[in-house]
Amino acid sequence: MSLPTGEVIGILADNLRIRGSVLPLSKRKVTRWARGLNLPHGGRTVLYTGMMYQLIPYIEGLVKAEKRLGDSPLAELTWLGRKINRLVNISAFMARPSAKLRAVYNEVPVNVALLLKEAGVEFGYLYKDDLYSGALAHDLGADEVVADHARKVYGVLRKRGVRRIITIDPHTTNMLRSVYPKLIPGFDIEIRSYLEVLAEREPMLRTSLTGELVIHDPCVFARYEGIVHEPRRLLTATGLTLKEPEKSGRMTYCCGGPVESLYPEKAEANARRRVEQLQEAVRGSDQRSDREACEIVTMCPMCFVNLAAAAPDGVALNDISHYLRRAYVS
């Protein structure tokens, strides 16, 4: 059973309004990945995580808690949870995600920072001012809260003198590039995904890779932001063979992640369908006796977490930055 829709949206929207993120994490957790990289504080060009990769293990924790709660008589009391949440950050009491999961998600921004450095891009990081974009609340239609939050984020970016932002995940890219300009008259910061920045620079190959990957396009890159060719160019130049599922590129099939916070079972069913489609992409391949085994490349933390949870043994998943770092960073 799902929890009452309105109350869950209420809790997430209250968090964004009061604490600046749908699931408030400490600044220490959000910026931990950057330790030891010596990234300059701020600058005209910044790498912007929008906290997405760091948040995902915690969203997974929330969804597990929701599922447990949804099946118990306590589901009736979610309205009370929302009232308490306004005063006390209840997400702080949720089970902490495993160190392994946190490490996976912290690794992605590190990979991206190293790739950009190697490609000669000059950039800084905003540390405590690397704020959440409001993506989930926007999807849920909490428009007033998102508009206020967007103005706050833009104010910080202006104050820090940021002119150009390099994003990592599709949701932050879409919010900053396509939604903020509609909410903020005169929004004038250039937003590009690191995949676009890297593809344009044609980075030098340091280590050739071999093997076969099935590519899963996130809807938000492929259909909202038109980012389809860049990841393919970067991956094929490493020597890897890319397998396309039937629903691919602009016609990609959603992982189910967007409904995870409200209807976890529906998200799971969709993810299972997508994993099967991705497995089918390698069927008929000569090198393979076990037709079900495959390696899937994702480029969105939501896709990763959803598909990984639905993947049977023998199906491996990795973020695109994992391959790009091995190939393009010396």
């Binding site: 829709t5 309105g6 239609g141 909490a142 016609m251 099939y253 409904v259 209807y263 529906k266």
Partner: protein, 107 residues
């Protein structure tokens, strides 16, 4: 279904205007071809053609019966890239959520 006098369905023409306050609610271009339903990964039958028609006709009660469908949409735009009429389906669904958040959930 709510009925007005003589059993006619109660319509509130102002609904479409309120729903579309933030973004143009361009559902009137829909020609009811059914492509969106055929390609929808969630198999959401009511979205968007019947639902948008309810909004345009001001049939608020029928819209509110579909809350689960409205919040189950992935906003994945599979329907939208295949829609022959160029309906902004995902943004229309988001506008409906915004409307329901305010009028039903009191956000």
């Amino acid at each position: 279904m709510s009925a007005g006098v003589n059993g006619a369905t109660l319509v509130r023409p102002a609904l479409a205007g309120r729903v579309g306050a933030l973004e143009e609610f361009n559902a009137s271009a829909c020609m009811n071809c059914g492509v969106c339903t055929a390609v929808c990964p969630m198999g959401i039958e009511v979205l968007p053609r019947r639902l948008f028609r309810y909004v345009l006709l001001g049939m608020e009660d029928q819209v509110l019966e579909q809350i689960e469908s409205i919040y189950s949409c992935l906003l994945c735009k599979m329907c939208e890239v295949n829609c022959p009429a160029g309906v902004h389906i995902a943004e229309n669904v988001r506008s409906l959520r915004h409307h329901i958040n305010r009028t039903v959930f009191g956000l």
